[in-house]
Amino acid sequence: MLNLLQTALELGLICSLTTLALFVSYGMLNVCDLSTDGCFTLGAAVGAVVAAAGHPVLSLPAAILAGMCSGFVTAFLQTRMGVNSLLAGIAVNTGLYSINIAVMGGSSLVNLNKVETVFTGMRSLLLPLHLDGQYKLITALVFVLIIWGFLVVFLKTRLGLSIRATGSNADMVRSSSIDPTFTTTVTLIISGGITALSGCLLAQCQKSANIDMGSGMVTIALASLLMGGTLIKRGSLQKRALSAVLGAVLFRLIYMIALRLHLPAFLLKLISALIVIICIWGAQLQLPGRRKGGQTC
């Protein structure tokens, strides 16, 4: 039982990075980035290939960079080519499927069983501290803290403020002499990088990357984000970013319970879809008309 709980925590923390990415793109910019699934797998594929080549540390910046490129393409389609934001995400997501297989050398699976990863590296670091039993949990926690800290600081800078304002009132951003095209592009690049990091870590944690890793990830992350949002309705930026992480962990715990109830694994996607619906419904019941939803998403 404790073992399961720890696994749920690990998974929750790793996937909470994707939730944090959506916290920026959906929560702040109000753009629903449907390329998340493909971007997640892209991070996993790039990270796995680089790690398999013997560079576990380098795999992280490589994955982040790949994700940022993907985010840039999505943003370019939206802002420069006039593609609707949902369609841009879907198009990039579809294209990434082929790219991800190409990255993995034409195969749909990269095995990392005997490969040095960020996690195994962390385990040897933690060995003298006798914490090596929790090495996965600690590694995940470190990355979540870094990204959370980065976002909390970043979203309070002038650039961060302009991103939040773009989601809130693009007219006001223009009046402040800031190009909403620029802020949209920066946001999607950042959220793409974080999503890919999330995928990279999951692949290395599970010791394999496969082409279907990311499928349904946008639903899971969205459910987590909304669930966290109902837990902590308002408050400082720090709190709201933390609520995204809490939501992701809570989501995995619900998953775990579903598994303990011996529900067949194929039902899990249905459960995540149901959680999304319940969360959106619940949020609307409590806060009528607070959020002007459905403008860009």
């Binding site: 800078t157 002038r158 403020l161 809130s168 007219d171 223009r174």
Partner: protein, 257 residues
């Protein structure tokens, strides 16, 4: 200062809904001019303001500001020297962000990665205090919680923290209650006077049109049909204006205060 030459704009060209909203507008504003712009609904006043600040590309003509041709510049680039207020008090501010965050963003101070410094916060607080609305004590509150009058006053401050070369006011008090409208209008007059701003204000209030500013223009059917200043304007009464108004077109709204 501001020079428009033969500016034209047609909406929905080539369709049955085709409408020529600006038919060759030319005029010039000198530095420090405070122009009140009147005209019936659909006369093209808001479109004219939109053309000046770049909300849409114009079909023909040129727009020069401070000796520079800005006809092809994008809206956000023009916003560096043109401030604009809309009738809707919700359009000028980001509701989900705090008073201070809105102000700091509008101030344009600091680089992309800088956060408000103590000195900057104090300076913005002092400016807020001038509005006399107690907003200086509500810095961390989301702007969405403020009243329409407070939001419009805040927008006015945001548009003028860095004094723009040109301030465009599009019926910016029309959606406010009489007390708030009066307050925002007097704030407008004092801020414009303080910085010696060049200003173009659309209003439906004939009294204000003659009382405020140094020049009055009237638009009708996409053209400027009246442009008075100095002694000629001094001699004008609200009744005179209404006569001119009716002479131009059948108005769809009685515009008296």
């Amino acid at each position: 200062m501001l020079t428009l030459k033969e500016v034209t704009k047609t909406f929905n060209p080539g369709t049955p809904d085709q409408k020529r909203v600006l038919s060759g507008i030319s005029f010039q504003l000198s530095k420090g001019d405070f122009v009140t712009l009147i005209g019936s609904n659909g006369a093209g006043k808001s479109t004219l303001l939109g053309a000046i600040c770049g909300s849409f590309p114009i079909d023909g003509g040129t727009i020069e500001l401070g000796g520079r041709d800005i006809t092809a510049e994008k809206a956000h680039a023009r916003a560096r020297y043109i401030g604009r207020l809309f009738q809707d008090p919700l359009r000028g501010t980001a509701p989900a962000m705090s008073v201070m965050e809105n102000l700091y963003l509008a101030s344009g101070w600091g680089g992309w990665l800088s956060t408000p410094r103590k000195r900057e916060v104090d300076a913005l607080k002092d400016k807020l205090a001038l509005l006399d609305m107690g907003l200086e004590n509500r810095l961390q509150e989301p702007v969405g919680l403020l009243s329409g009058g407070q939001r419009q006053a805040l927008t006015l401050l945001m548009a003028t923290i860095t004094p723009p070369k040109l301030l465009l006011l599009d019926e910016h008090t029309a959606a406010l209650d009489p007390a708030a409208a009066k307050k925002v209008l007097s704030l407008t007059a004092s801020i414009v006077a303080e910085h010696g701003l060049t200003c173009l204000m659309v209003t439906h209030n004939m009294k204000d049109a003659l009382r405020l500013g140094n020049r009055t223009m009237m638009m009708d059917g996409g053209s400027i049909v009246l442009d008075v200043s100095g002694a000629e304007r001094q001699a004008l009464t609200v009744d005179d204006l209404l006569q001119r108004f009716k002479a131009g077109t059948a108005t769809d709204r009685v515009l008296l205060s």
